[in-house]
């Protein structure tokens, strides 16, 4: 089976002009070759099969957004090419974007002053969705995301979580086989995040939508993605399963235990003791060698545990680790 999304030697070089102010300055910089080149994306290749759920990770400025913009036809690559269902989003933009869904977490694509329903109707017209299909889709998404409650509320009055749900439905309205999500959980609370995650999981499973997701949230990746790609300084430094990433990194997770009473001796086990102050003990352990449940069980032998706090390595440090190794 041919891959549904493909990138071959994808490269994007930006020319950062010397900063000139004002209109005259801008005109002058048109004709000058001053400035330096920035390779935002540097020879990336990958292919995604239909139905895959891919997490795309990397620190800020690594080239994530630039990649997404090239995948969706917003930007032309400097060299290399993109294929979505075998077609180039650059050469046949309108044909390709008809089969894509896109969500940019930072800004809505809905009509700000209109009720959500009006936006959907406009999108239905733009994508030529038949009325019966549209109704069926809306009913189904109401089941999954409970958008019915605010369908008639203007977008500007929605909470961030509601707005993101509304935007997700908008991206799926025309049943695209491929969807790109750029930070869909940014700024949301835990409940809203959980709701969006279960929606994404469900839609990926039942509709077989191919999803490429960029995020800063390790939990998003952990709960959703079957495959992870890591980009840093414009290069793909990891492409494989999440398990593989963990093993490659072996970055320590941190566990802080509060005992009912100070333990008699320093807890010993397959971890390193970070600190021990009174009845609070902090340790670091490697998830690829033992599970959290195992660690907590063994720590329980040193006294009654009153509270547990666990911190996962943050994404920046994971990526940095991968980059250093890869």
């Amino acid at each position: 089976m041919a891959p549904i999304v493909e990138a071959r030697e994808l490269t994007k070089v930006f020319r950062v002009a010397k900063d000139r102010r004002g209109l005259l300055g801008a005109i002058r910089s048109l004709f000058s070759n001053e400035g330096r080149e920035v390779r935002a994306v540097d020879g990336i290749s990958f292919s995604i099969d239909a139905g895959e759920f891919v997490g795309y990770l990397g620190p800020n400025g690594a080239g994530k957004s630039t990649t997404i913009k090239m995948m969706t036809g917003i930007l032309h690559p400097t060299s290399g090419e993109v294929r979505v269902e075998g077609k180039s989003p650059q050469r046949s933009r309108r044909e390709v974007v008809r089969r894509l869904g896109v969500v940019f977490g930072q800004r809505t694509q809905l009509w700000w002053d209109l009720p959500v329903r009006d936006s959907y109707e406009l999108l239905a017209a733009m994508y030529g969705i038949k009325s019966r299909e549209y109704q069926a889709t809306l009913t189904r998404f109401d089941d999954l995301l409970e958008i019915g409650a605010f369908l008639d509320v203007p977008v500007r009055k929605l909470s961030l979580g509601q707005r993101m749900r509304a935007d997700l439905v908008a991206a799926w309205l025309h049943r695209p086989p491929v969807v790109f999500l750029d930070e869909p959980t940014i700024g949301l609370d835990a409940v809203a995040k959980a709701r969006i995650r279960s929606f994404l999981q469900e839609i990926n499973r039942t509709e077989g939508t191919t999803i490429m997701l960029t995020t800063h949230d390790m939990d998003d990746i952990e709960r959703l993605c079957t495959r992870v790609m890591v980009i840093n300084h414009g290069r793909l430094v990891y492409d494989g399963s999440l398990e593989g990433l963990r093993q490659a990194v072996g970055a320590p997770s941190t566990l802080r235990i509060e005992y009912a009473a100070p333990p008699g001796t320093a807890p010993q086990g397959p971890w390193t003791l970070v600190s021990w102050e009174g009845n609070v003990v902090t340790i670091a352990f490697d998830r690829s060698r033992c599970t959290a449940a195992d660690v907590i069980g063994r720590l329980g032998q040193y006294g009654e545990i009153r509270d547990v706090y666990m911190a996962e390595p943050d994404i920046e440090s994971v990526v940095e680790q991968v980059y250093r190794r890869g």
Binding site: L23, V97, R107, W112, A125
Partner: protein, 264 residues
Amino acid sequence: MSILRIYARLAVASLRAKMQYKLDFLVNTLLWGALTTADFLMLAAIMLRFERVGGWDIYEVGLLYGMAWIATGLYRTFASELHNFDQYVVHGEFDALLVRPWPTLLTLLGRNLEPHRLGAVLQGAIILGLSARHLLAVGTLDRFGLVYVLASSFFGALIPFSLSLITAAFAFWVVRTGDLLTFTIHAPISASQYPLTIYPRWLKTLLLSVLPVGFINFIPVQYLLGKGGGPWALVFSPAVAVGFTLAAYGLWRAGERRYQSTGS
């Protein structure tokens, strides 16, 4: 055809969004009305005092003025997003237009209509009507001329529209174009309210070539009132309007491609 249908849907949606702010609409109508009235007042002060400008009397100039304002009012009503387009490039909002399966210009124009600017069309139409009534009565203008003038006012809207489209397309290269509008729209439209013969040669040439506002009104009206030119003027003016629009759209497409290859 489906393009027109989509545009109509978008346009109606933008009007519905507008209707949520009725006070804004009311105040904007009044303020824009005050501005166009003020503009007319200056012309009236000069014409009432001197009766003639460059050999044209108040009714003849009224014809030019009315046509210029109908054309400009229509352009401002239907292409207001184009007028401030550079903001889309500055803030990277052009991306949102590129992910839709329609021409970007269509979705852009459908985003915002400013019906409060139709007041300018109305004012232009009233002044044109009063002027034409007098000119018909004294026999300077015939019925055919009147029909032509009306049609040409609407056709003429293509010229400020194209000028604006060109200015907007510049934003893909120089990003900020707010200052350029004065040259490409405001000054030429002001100039087109008077017979072009009064201007220095370089200015007249400019207004009939790079900034062809003379074809909105002056060129055809000059012939219709028997002040010069030939029947070619009646064919040439709409041809220039259409040709210029096509050229402007070509530049827009080139700009769009440039945006895609340089990024925001």
